[in-house]
């Protein structure tokens, strides 16, 4: 062995444990899910012998699962859209502020992200319950009470809350990397505020915006805990049905096929969005 290749070998040893971990516990299990989705069901074991495409046919021909899929994607779309609207002012402010509270404000965005999902859902349960804080406050004004929980409203509110920091952070990073002089120059040259935003700011933050949108969409579409807790069993999404089936019964092949249908639908949506973004970027460039 030459000395150079010996050094290379030794360098790869640094990466070996991590590659082994990801290969063994991410790559192979994901391939395995793919195979599992073509297995035959069995009533006595997690799956039967032989292969079939019946699981996919079952899902794609059953209006129950198709409407669950549509509902899951709708939740994800609504969540992403609301996150985008709420994230913009905060990201802008955080990127440009010179306030000495800036560190604290940043911690304010980061700390929800570091607080467990269950705890944040708990907070919303206390707030949104029929006799919760929001309804009590509205009651003193003589309005309500409203059903804010155990329905789509509660689930959407909690989804937005949980994933909002993941929209703010990439947007903030993108805005931070724009030289403010660019905007000033455009303004000096007579561009209106809206025009500056459309022609200067938006194209430059589009990559950050895109990564935020994709992240939130994927996570919202695969959320399990939030629809379980805020939906209270009355809101079902594909992930909740999937996990219940896998934990309750021995329906591994069917659960695996559900998981793959969901992933495929999410990937297709993300891909369509990325394509849309690229087209828009080209038009602006």
């Amino acid at each position: 062995m030459t000395e150079a290749s010996e050094i290379r070998m030794r360098q790869w040893l640094f990466a070996a444990p991590a590659l082994l971990l990801v290969g063994l516990f991410v790559l192979i299990p994901y391939i395995n899910i793919g195979i599992m989705s073509f297995r035959t069901p069995s009533t006595t074991a997690p799956y039967g012998p032989g292969f079939t495409i019946a699981n996919y046919i079952h899902i794609l021909s059953d209006s129950l699962y198709l409407s669950l899929l549509a509902e899951t994607l709708l939740f994800a779309t609504t969540t992403t859209a609301v996150c985008l609207v709420l994230a913009f002012p905060v990201a802008f402010h955080l990127a440009r502020t010179t306030s000495r509270w800036r560190g604290l404000l940043y911690a304010g965005v980061l700390s929800p992200l570091l607080t467990g999902v269950v705890i944040r859902c708990f907070g919303w349960i206390v707030l949104l319950a029929n006799n919760g804080l929001v309804n009590q406050a509205l009651g003193t004004l003589g309005i309500g009470p409203f059903q804010l929980m155990y329905n789509a409203t509660g689930v959407t509110i909690a989804l937005v809350h949980v994933f909002l920091p993941l929209m703010i952070l990439p947007l903030m990073n993108a805005i931070q990397s724009i030289d403010p002089h660019l905007e000033e120059a455009a303004r000096t040259l007579g561009a209106s505020r809206t025009r500056v935003f459309q022609r200067i700011v938006l194209p430059l933050i589009l990559p950050g915006l895109q990564s935020g949108v994709i992240l939130v969409f994927v996570l919202a579409a695969s959320a399990y805990v939030i629809p379980m807790l805020l939906g209270g069993g009355r809101v079902q999404t594909l992930p909740t049905v999937m996990v219940q089936q896998l934990m309750g019964g021995l329906l591994w092949p069917f659960g695996a096929a559900l998981a793959l249908v969901l992933s495929f639908a999410v990937l297709a949506s993300v891909w369509a969005f990325a394509l849309l973004g690229r087209k828009r970027m080209r038009r602006l460039a």
């Binding site: 360098q11 395995n32 304010g108 999902v117 705890i119 206390v126 707030l127 319950a129 999937m242």
Partner: protein, 262 residues
């Protein structure tokens, strides 16, 4: 112009309120004397903390979470740090592929990873009778946080520092131990602490991979909240939030919160 900045300020404040209110509410609820979660609080009390401490299922779950978090964070740090060194210092081809492989557990939906691991462990491995699947799952999902933090610490450190040590006659190992390691140590510690937080808060992996009859704190809370909202859960949540905040403060002290990348 003035109006625009006032509108911006109001909307920013509103979003911060929205972000922080649910967490503040849980903390306040845990000190409430009333039997049921109600507002405004009827009085200050630590009775729910006493209830938490005298509940074996809650304290047991808390300690299991701590143990799993510590083991997972230690393992993820030992595995992720050399991988980050490899990526920043050695790798010259297929860099993006390697980075994506390291970040995959963070980018892939957690529920899916949990299901994939559940099948895998039951089929070809050890089943879910022991703690091993749970801990392995937690190592996998915390690895990206160590990798990200240590790589960014290495990027902030010019390779020339190490080269200078080598030129002055230090062996590669000595240059790493005496020069590079002390300079990226705070990055490594931060990565380990983030890994601990991510493990400590995890629900999806734990739910599917936990051994039967055991549960971590988030799982215990999850099960509890589906049937019962008594403030013991608020006390448990507050303890968990407090622990997280302490770690975040420590990260800010030793590394700077703004340097943390997601």
């Amino acid at each position: 112009m003035r109006l625009a900045s006032i509108v911006l300020l109001i909307s920013v404040t509103a979003v911060y309120l929205f972000l922080l209110l649910p967490i503040v509410i849980v903390v306040l609820a845990s000190f409430n004397a009333a039997e049921y979660l109600s507002f405004p609080p009827t009085g200050l009390s630590f009775r729910w903390y006493a209830a938490f401490l005298s509940s074996p299922s809650f304290t047991g779950a808390f300690f299991l979470s701590i143990i799993v978090g510590l083991v997972a964070a230690a393992a993820a740090t030992l595995i992720g740090t050399p991988a980050a060194i490899f990526y920043v210092r050695f790798l010259d081809r297929r860099r993006e592929e390697f980075r994506l492989a390291m970040l995959a557990p963070m980018l892939l939906p957690e529920v899916l990873t949990a299901i994939a691991l559940l099948f895998f462990f039951n089929q070809v491995f050890i089943g879910t009778q022991t703690l091993l699947p749970l801990i392995l799952g937690h190592i996998v999902i915390t690895l990206p946080f160590v990798f990200l933090t240590v790589s960014s610490a290495l990027y902030n450190l010019p390779a020339a520092v190490e080269e200078a040590a080598r030129t002055l006659g230090a062996s590669a190992w000595k240059a790493f131990r005496r020069v590079t390691f002390p300079l990226i140590k705070s990055g490594i510690v931060t990565g380990a602490m983030l890994a601990f937080i991510m493990s400590f808060d995890n629900v999806n992996i734990s739910l599917l991979l936990k051994a039967i009859g055991t549960s971590t704190l988030p799982i215990q809370l999850f099960d509890y909240l589906r049937y019962d909202f008594d403030p013991t859960a608020a006390a448990a949540s507050t303890i968990s939030v407090g622990l997280t905040m302490l770690i975040v403060l420590a990260i800010d002290r030793i590394y700077g919160l703004r340097a943390v990348r997601f």
